[in-house]
Symmetry: C2
Subunit: 323 residues, 2 copies
């Protein structure tokens, strides 16, 4: 599915890549080096695609601005990945060595700061003030989400509400902004709210399905060891749902494993069994489906178009992702 | 001197403190806690004072905006301090335990990100687009300066040019922006360039005099161990000047000490002797004086006023700072 969108937006996405590369210029070589390394490591340019589709569905008269906004969204996402990897002490990212393991934590922090700053500079030069308002608000939410995740890590009593607060900040807020900014660039007040809701809802669907995959996925496909979130102390939705029904002993056991110093692969097997026993995966999948439906419903008044079809397909794709 | 300015701007500075406190609000308690800790640790609000004076000298018709800009400049400065302390692995800041030693590196990084983001959000809500342009440009320079400092650390061949590139980014760029933004808020095109130059020049004077104090100062007054920069691998202007004249043996000796694993206080004595022998302090002091003079000269066309007198006094104060 995603390949068809990429092919449909081929020329624009190629321009976005140019914007991404051109704006890394600096007299300090390590900045483009480190940034390119993480930018090239891939990602599907999911957020830029959403900005481009949103802008096109709103008229698409400001294609150049949309490309800049798309690049800015990707820069901000990349900056948070750099800081995340330092915070999480990650060794790998997208199957490659994490940037902080090559250039050091210090450079990763500062190049992240550079990308944030350059993003805002690019916006001040090219985008309307309302775009900056949306993006800076998303960045506040991002920081809050990451901080809340940090506070709640290794906390077996993490609630569903805590979980949503975390994923709103760390994921949904930026995806929401990626969509909303598309409308704002086209000065389309009518669709602005619809796209914002669409973005927030697929943001939830995206993160929850990611968290499911962390439990059910094949490390060969995900590029991460199974149970990586749990190992990092992240209590995610499938486990939260299961713990709501688990016995006191089971909860105690999960807590022990969460706090265990030398966590092994087989320990996660125990956690996984408890999640499956209480159908935590199914309950979380149901949530993904609901968020996907809400996303589709939000944009039902948008004009019929190839762009609308793609936005709907993206929502459905997340809801039916192969686990 | 600085006390007289503080007293002159008493009411406005007290409002700036309110803006600083009010905008830390978040449902996540650690954000206002950690931020207040470092904000309260003091600092003389040097940058906010410059923004207020600059705005007043340009007419001062937008006092409310000036206070917000002043708070934003302080937030951005604080965010860089938080990231700096992680990068430098600092134990103390302004005589107190560094925030990263209390709340951890992870929280310090993320709260720094929060302050950057909140700064930009406040600007989008309250200040003209040109203010955002100036501040985002300053943030790009800040990140570049910090990265360049990191690259050049423990490099005995750091040149005068390298040094200026570092201090422009890490210090002068934000002080320049603090002054320029005052003019922009008042929409004063005439004084904008003058204040920008003034800010950049006192930025250099400020950082060079700080670097001199690191060598000559009494730890009781500076709150830092003597030779702290050298210990952290920072090759600063007095040493750069001395090394231009030092013998090959002396340079070799300094290099050994710079790279020495278990650096002791007495080791710095050797470095200090070489700096003094070649009059590195005097040469650096001369630079401070020149930057101070250029700062004063830049604003000579500004209308005669108490504000102008203060700006001149600040420049002179830096140039004649007690070493």
């Amino acid at each position: 599915m995603i390949n068809r969108v990429i092919s449909y937006l081929k020329d624009e996405l190629s321009d976005v890549e140019k914007v991404l590369n051109e704006n890394l210029h600096s007299t300090i070589k390590i900045i483009p080096e480190l940034s390119s390394y993480i930018l090239e490591a891939g990602g599907k340019r999911f957020r830029p695609i959403l900005t481009l589709l949103s802008s096109r569905i709103c008229g698409g008269k400001n294609a150049d601005r949309a490309k800049i906004a798309a690049a800015v969204v990707e820069y901000i996402h990349t900056a948070t990945l750099l800081h995340d990897d330092v915070v999480d002490e990650s060794d790998t990212r997208r199957g490659r060595k994490a940037a902080n393991r090559i250039w050091g934590n210090q450079a990763a922090i500062l190049v992240g700061d550079f990308l944030f700053a350059r993003s805002f500079f690019m916006m001040t030069e090219n985008l309307p003030p309302s775009a900056l308002n949306i993006m800076s608000d998303a960045c506040v939410n991002l920081a809050e989400g990451e901080i809340y995740q940090l506070i709640k890590s290794y906390d077996i009593d993490t609630t569903e509400e805590d979980y949503y607060k975390i994923i709103f900040g760390k994921t949904a807020a930026l995806i929401k902004a990626a969509c909303e900014v598309g409308a704002v660039i086209e000065d389309n007040g009518e669709l602005r709210g619809a796209l914002r809701t669409y973005g927030e809802e697929i943001g939830y669907a995206f993160q929850i399905s990611d968290d499911i995959l962390d439990i059910t996925g094949d490390p060969k496909n995900t590029g991460k060891p199974v149970g990586n979130d749990f190992r990092e102390g992240k209590v995610t939705l499938p486990l939260i749902f299961a713990l709501q029904k688990a016995s006191r002993e089971e909860k105690k056991k999960v807590r022990e494993l969460l706090l265990k110093e030398d966590f092994e692969d087989k320990d996660f097997q125990t956690v996984k069994e408890i999640i499956y026993k209480y159908r935590g995966i199914e309950a979380a999948k149901q949530r993904v489906k609901e968020h996907g439906e809400r996303a589709v419903s939000a944009i039902k008044t948008a004009p019929e178009s190839r762009e609308k079809e793609f936005l709907i397909e993206i929502a459905n794709f997340l809801a039916e992702r192969e686990y």
